[in-house]
């Protein structure tokens, strides 16, 4: 049960990190 909490946290933070990386990259490519 406990491990599942860690799994959920990893999925949430990793998804946010990748999505925001893509967002920043998009902004940067528009600026360039």
């Amino acid at each position: 049960v406990r491990r599942r909490y860690a799994d959920i946290l990893v999925v949430i933070t990793a998804s946010l990190i990748v999505l925001l990386s893509a967002f920043f990259a998009l902004l940067q490519s528009w600026r360039g």
């Binding site: 933070t13 946010l16 920043f24 990259a25």
Partner: protein, 438 residues
């Protein structure tokens, strides 16, 4: 502040720290015409590095940040997120090779510039760090050696990655970018200094003294300790601390053990440790007067955190330790709630705290059910393992009217958790903690 809010706050801090390098992308003029994929590749490279840098913070055992989750979840997250960091730093060059195939020549470390060599070395070191962590036992690495190697590799990975960025030069050119990188690096180094230098110094100033080493049933030993020259710390029953016994806090030889004593008595505290190998086999050799250092308390496995009309404790072998702390504490508090202890041991002679449990039955409203794997002839009680049928025979009619604390071997906890859910117990009522830190 509620635990949920605290947890959300620390997740926000974590995201801010890992995403901070992305702001570097937006500072100053953008390089023209590189397109989304090249920028994305750089972004995930930065973020991969920031995740690795922030790993130092996750294992800094900072009380405020770990409390909402429990240290076991933070360590599990530390392990799993390293895979995400690895995927990002590997994807970073792969996207570059895909977009600009001519850059593949940078993999030739004999002719490539140093900025590329540093990058390759950093990824190789990261792969080595992950491999030595997954296969530590298979590689025959003692815990202390692994821990020293783990720290050294982590510093090497981050240093090499920073050197790669510095030599590339595109993202350190302007003063603000430089400030951001220096601030982040200082933060990561600060976490390392805190863990390896500052915290051990604090522990050194608050030593404990071994006053007794008591033999228990089932090849277990109870270490009784007293604070030396200070008032000790308060803990919640079920929590644990990292114990350094044969060396000072600057050494790598510290191991996590639950307290077995009552949280209500501050003069002495005890840890009960079963002889299982390496460090645990040395406990019986400790002598009264010997110094010990305790880094704690940690852990969310405590009845203080989960108020309920009654509790069911399910223990296997030495997993009784944190549960014994809860039972002793509840007895000292004059608790009269309905309690049930289902306790699995190998034989009747191996039942740790057997006599004291009988005494506790007089002070608490507790029913103790022993489950023996190898019972003697004529044993009338439960036998074999804690199964769904065992639970069904002893749980109250409404199993969701209790909170459950499970502690034992991983395989036992998995089986009991599954059995409880099949009996209709909501997972919100089931608590466990896993000490598999390596």
């Amino acid at each position: 502040m509620s635990r949920v809010f605290q947890g959300a706050f620390w997740i926000g801090v974590y995201l801010l720290l890992t995403l901070a390098p992305l702001f570097v992308l937006l500072l100053g003029p953008a390089p023209p015409g590189r397109g989304f994929w090249m920028e994305f590749s750089i972004a995930i490279g930065f973020v991969g590095l920031a995740i690795m840098g922030t790993q130092f913070l996750l294992t800094a055992r900072y009380h405020h940040a770990t409390a909402p989750f429990g240290l076991d979840i933070v360590y599990e997250y530390h392990r799993q997120i390293s895979w995400v960091a690895f995927a990002l730093v590997v994807a970073h060059p792969l996207i570059v090779f895909w977009q600009r195939p001519e850059t593949l020549r940078l993999l030739n470390v004999f002719e490539a510039p140093w900025r590329a060599r540093f990058a390759v070395a950093s990824v190789v070191a990261l792969a080595a760090l992950i491999a030595t962590s997954i296969w530590r036992r298979r590689l025959g690495l003692p815990y202390e050696v692994w821990r020293a190697l783990h720290g050294a590799l982590a510093v090497l990975i981050v240093t090499l990655a920073l050197a790669h960025i510095a030599l590339w030069g595109n993202y350190v050119g302007t003063p603000w970018k430089l400030v951001l990188w220096v601030a982040l690096t200082t933060f990561w180094v600060g976490a390392l200094v805190y863990v390896r230098l500052w915290k051990p110094l604090l522990l050194l100033r608050r030593p404990y003294r071994v006053v007794e080493v008591r033999r228990e049933r089932g090849d277990a030993w109870t270490l009784v300790m007293e604070p030396e020259g200070h008032s000790g710390f308060r803990f919640h029953p079920g929590q644990f601390a990292w114990l350094s016994l044969w060396s000072g806090p600057y050494d790598m030889r510290e191991h996590p053990f639950s307290f077995s004593s009552s949280a209500e008595y501050r003069g002495q505290l005890t840890m009960t440790i079963k002889e299982l190998g390496d460090f645990t086999a040395t406990i019986k050799g400790a002598r009264p007067g010997q110094r010990a250092y305790l880094d704690g308390p940690y852990g969310a496995f405590t009845c203080d955190r989960h108020r309920a009309p009654g509790y069911v404790f399910i223990a296997g072998g030495v997993g009784i330790t944190p549960i014994m702390s809860m039972l002793r504490t509840l007895a000292d508090r004059g608790n009269d709630q309905p309690l049930l202890l289902i306790y699995s041991s190998k034989t009747w002679d191996d039942v740790i705290f057997r006599e004291e449990l009988e005494e506790l039955m007089k002070r608490l409203n507790v029913k103790v059910v022993h489950v023996l794997r190898e019972p003697a002839e004529g044993w009338q009680g439960e036998r074999s393992f804690v199964t769904q049928e065992t639970l069904k025979r002893h749980l109250p009619a409404d199993p969701n009217s209790r909170d459950y604390f499970i502690c034992g071997a991983d395989v036992m906890m998995d089986a009991v958790e599954l059995a409880l859910t099949e009996l209709g117990v909501s997972l919100a009522h089931v608590h466990s903690e896993r000490y598999n830190f390596v």
